[in-house]
Structures are given as structure tokens and as C-alpha cells.
Amino acid sequence: MTDYWSMLFVFVLATFIGLGVIRRVSRLLYTPLMSLTNAISAIAVVGSLVVTGADYPKTIRILGAVALFASMTNIVSGFLITNRMLKMFKKK
């Protein structure tokens, strides 16, 4: 039985932390911020990993593998391009 109250609790707290932290992000960095949060939300990789790797019927695992590919693409390209952009911001 899923303890969905504690899940909702976590969701609300995480949202407030997110709002608090993101509000302080430098306006200069909104583009890298978006690619970074994008890579972070590719944490969906965890779900895809289970669906792909567990002993499930093949069709299910194929769906999982495509999802895993999509999340992994986001992780790799998201972190790499964020790093590439952040390297460019120099004070003087």
C-alpha cells in the first residue's frame, strides 16, 4: 500500500524548496538553468531503468528501453551543454 500522504507531503515541500532556490538564480544564467533542471528531471531514468531491467514481459521492457534512452540522452546532453555554457561566463 502506497503511503500517498507522505508522497504528497514530499512533493509540497520539494516544490517550496524549488521555488525558494530558483528565485535566487542569477538572471544571466536562465538558459543554463533550464538545461540543468532538464538534466535533473531526467531522474525519470530511475523509473525507466527498473522497467527495462526487471524480469517483465518483453513489450514492457521495450517501452522501458526507449524511455531509458530518452532519459539518458537528456542527462548526457543536459549536463554537457550546461557545463559548456557556464564555462563562457567570465567576469573580465
Binding site: S41, A42, I43, A44, V45, A65, S77, I81, K87
Partner: protein, 468 residues
């Protein structure tokens, strides 16, 4: 034991993700953000991978390898293409959520009805609808930004459009609610793909009426959707790490959407259902003022005699890839003791922060980049405002033309500068399809042509010895 490791990893990853976002508050610390993010992700992946129920390792390795194969080239695109790359990654995020939701549904259907609690099934339906609409919506946005030939760039509208769009979404939601109530009914296996189909369709329809000027807002909204889809996946899989990471992404998208909307003085609903810039009623043809064109020589002289020059870049600079020429001009002017500042409108370009990244790429120090609210009080002291491929964000009509689509939008007060030099590709109106009276002001001189070419000519005036 492995369960405890997984729980601990989830906590560690969450902490690292929050730290990563915290470090984005200043360019100085921002590069730690990537390290923290990668660390959190690696911990989460490894902790999941070592769980005993994972047995098909070859499949996982294959999918991960494919992710690298596509992800690495995607991270190397030119920075002018970053908006479409971002839209594409929202599409991938949506797709992953939608597919996992679909897989879980059929899995539970095979394993037995005890899996379908109302809460889980509701989360699953939300995940699938949000995931697939984000998938196609973001693909469409990416297509429009990439200027793919068969996707119309201009907003496409037709009578009853909002009715059709809301009808499609409404049908998906109603079917979704029915599925929540009767997840294992005989018709459910037919209804489920229909929900997917409607969501896919809605994503396309949602973006069809969106124009280029609205892209920063739309990309931010899609970002929030992708995050919420991950949250829903977390609810479905009973995974708190997914919920927290998705919530961080969702709140980031939400904040950016709000900032973008405010910067255009518009509401969410207005962006999504307003079809900005399609209907441009020809203004009652009063006196048509003429452009005044300036030569590169004349423009260079104006710039050289200035004390404060404010450069206002827009999408035109990105299209022409002119940021490096901007940098050369910046060098020539600062060398001669001219103060050069860059005024950045929040919605300049096609995504939040677009101009900052391009100028940073050209090695312009970020201390020279100034936000709209800070530069506007300085504009009356500005000797020359150089508008490079920006249009709506400097259109004075936003202040007082009540029936203009951009009425009320905060603008950079280029018109208050002593002199305005405007570089413009053609004599056509900008993306919003609105005439800009700034260009026909008494103190405005136009330089027509591709921004890169025009700036190159200007720089030559300085470098070639014509001026000293």
C-alpha cells in the same frame, strides 16, 4: 541492505540536486552546480541498478549507450540552436514519462487488479497525459524554432480553435477519469491508447497557434510540464526521488514562465490561447513617416563620439550569428574610452537567458550585461542606443497604443536615448507583426542588412584607420 542503499542514495541525490540549483545563483559558483548534478544523478542510477530485481543488464547498457550516442552530439550544437535543443529535451523528458506510465499500466493489468488504487491510477493518467502532450508539444516547438519546412513558423489560427483544443484535452481527461474509476474494465485497453492519442494530438494543437515571440514563455511552460510528468511518475512508482527532482524542475519552469509572462504583460492563458501576432490590423494610415538610412561611416562617427553606448540585442543577432562581431565592436569602442553596456530584455530571443549566453560565448564580460529595469533609468544619458535585430522589446507603442498586442509590455527605453542606430534585416515588421515607430523617430538612423554584415562594416570603419 540494497533497499537501505537505495533510500540513502535517494536522500543524497536530492541534497545534491538542491545544492546544484543553489549554486546557480551566481556565475562564479555555477560550475559546481554541474558537478553536484552529475554526482547526484550517478548515485541515483547506480543505486537503482544494483537492486536485485534488475536482471537484464544488456538491455540497460544498450539503451544507455544509445543515449550517449545521441546526447553527446546534441550537447555540441551551436549556441544559437540552444532553444530548439532545449525544446527537444523537454520532448524526450515527456516521452520517457509517457512510456513508463504506459508500461506500468499494462504491467499491472497483466499482474492483477490489486495494483490499481485510485491514487496510483490517477497519478498514472496524469503522467501519461502530461508526458505525451509535452512530447509532441515540445517537438512542435523545436520544429518551429529550427524552422523545419513543413511546420509553419507563423501562428496558425482558425475559428473555433480554442474550442477544438479544449475539446480534445477535455475528452482525454474524461476518458482518463473513467479509467481511474474502472481501470480493468473490458473497454479499458481500448480507452488507454485513445487517451494517449488525444494527448499526442493536443500537444500538436497547443503549439500550432504559437509564434516566435511567445517561445520563451512556451518553452518555460513545457519545462514545467516535463517536471510535473516526472512528479506523477514518482507517485506511480512510489519513488520520492522522482517526486523531489520533478518538483524542482517543475518549480523552475513555473518561475521562468511567470517571469516571461510578466515581461510581456500577459497571462498564461493569453499566451496559450491568445495567438499572439497573427491579426495585425493595418493601422489607420496616418502620415507615413520615412526611414532615415545611415551609412557605416556616419554610424561609426556617431559611436566614436559617444560616451555611453547601450547595445540592445534581439533575436536578429542570434539569427545572423552576429555575437562575435558585436564583441569586436565592443572592443573597438571600449578601446576608445566609450562605455558600452548591453541591455537585456527578459524575453529577447527565443528562450529565457538566450542573449546572455550568446554574448558570453563571444567573451563579453557578464558585468557589461544589464537588465531592463536597471538600464532604463540610464537611457536618457545614453548617447547612442544600438538596436541589433530587436523589435518588439523596444517598441514605444507598448506604452500607449491601447489596441496594440504588445500594449503594457515593459520595454527597454531605446527611444529615450539621444540617438538610436537600428540594425534591421529587412523593412518588414518584427515577429509580432507590429509597426515600430522607433524606427521613424527623428533621432533614429537605420542600418539595413544582415546584422553580422552591418556590424562587420562598422568594425572595419574603426579598424581600417578611417577613424582614430
Amino acid at each position: 541492505m540494497t533497499h537501505a542503499i537505495a533510500q540513502f542514495a535517494a536522500i543524497a541525490a536530492t541534497a545534491l540536486f538542491i545544492l546544484a540549483l543553489y549554486w546557480m545563483n551566481a556565475p562564479k559558483t555555477a560550475r559546481h552546480a554541474v558537478v553536484a548534478g552529475v554526482g547526484g544523478m550517478a548515485i541515483a542510477i547506480l543505486a537503482t541498478w544494483i537492486q536485485p530485481e534488475i536482471v537484464h543488464h544488456a538491455w540497460i547498457l544498450l539503451a544507455i549507450a544509445a543515449g550517449f550516442l545521441v546526447g553527446v552530439p546534441l550537447s555540441l550544437v551551436p549556441l544559437t540552436a540552444v532553444p530548439q535543443r532545449t525544446a527537444l529535451s523537454h520532448a524526450f523528458g515527456g516521452l520517457a514519462a509517457g512510456l513508463v506510465g504506459t508500461a506500468e499500466y499494462y504491467l499491472w493489468l497483466g499482474e492483477g487488479p490489486e495494483h490499481f488504487t485510485t491514487f496510483r491510477m490517477s497519478a498514472l493518467v496524469v503522467e501519461v497525459i502530461l508526458g505525451f502532450l509535452t512530447f509532441t508539444g515540445s517537438l512542435m516547438a523545436a520544429g518551429k524554432l529550427q524552422e523545419v519546412r513543413w511546420i509553419p513558423q507563423r501562428p496558425v489560427t482558425y475559428p473555433g480553435q480554442n474550442f477544438v483544443n479544449l475539446g480534445v484535452l477535455g475528452a482525454a481527461v474524461v476518458l482518463g477519469v473513467l479509467l481511474v474509476l474502472h481501470p480493468t474494465a473490458p473497454w479499458a485497453t481500448t480507452a488507454f491508447p485513445i487517451v494517449i492519442g488525444l494527448s499526442v494530438l493536443f500537444g500538436v494543437l497547443l503549439i500550432v497557434p504559437i509564434g516566435g515571440a511567445d517561445m520563451p514563455t512556451v518553452i518555460s511552460i513545457l519545462n514545467a510540464y516535463a517536471g510535473l510528468a516526472a512528479v506523477a511518475m514518482g507517485f506511480v512508482l512510489d519513488n520520492k526521488l522522482l517526486v523531489t527532482a520533478g518538483a524542482l524542475d517543475g518549480s523552475s519552469g513555473l518561475i521562468l514562465s511567470i517571469i516571461m509572462c510578466r515581461a510581456m504583460n500577459r497571462s498564461f492563458t493569453n499566451v496559450l490561447f491568445g495567438a499572439f501576432g497573427t491579426v495585425q490590423k493595418a493601422k489607420a494610415a496616418g502620415e507615413q513617416k520615412e526611414w532615415k538610412q545611415e551609412s557605416p561611416e556616419g554610424a561609426a562617427q556617431l559611436l566614436e563620439q559617444a560616451r555611453l553606448v547601450v547595445v540592445i540585442p534581439g533575436y536578429g543577432m542570434a539569427v545572423a550569428q552576429a555575437q562575435h562581431k558585436v564583441r569586436e565592436l565592443y572592443d573597438q569602442l571600449t578601446k576608445r574610452g566609450v562605455t558600452v553596456k548591453f541591455a537585456i530584455h527578459p524575453v529577447a530571443g527565443r528562450m529565457p537567458g538566450h542573449m546572455n549566453v550568446l554574448l558570453a560565448e563571444a567573451d563579453i564580460p557578464y558585468s557589461a550585461l544589464v537588465e531592463m529595469d536597471e538600464i532604463n533609468p540610464e537611457m536618457p544619458q545614453c548617447d547612442v542606443a544600438v538596436v541589433i535585430g530587436a523589435n518588439d522589446v523596444v517598441n514605444p507603442a507598448a506604452r500607449y497604443v491601447k489596441d496594440s498586442p504588445i500594449y503594457g509590455m515593459p520595454i527597454i527605453d531605446a527611444d529615450k536615448a539621444k540617438t538610436v542606430l537600428a540594425i534591421k534585416r529587412s523593412k518588414n515588421p518584427g515577429f509580432a507583426g507590429i509597426d515600430n515607430e522607433l524606427y521613424v523617430q527623428d533621432n533614429t538612423w537605420m542600418l539595413f542588412g544582415d546584422a553580422k554584415g552591418v556590424l562587420g562594416d562598422l568594425v572595419k570603419q574603426f579598424a581600417g584607420g578611417g577613424l582614430h
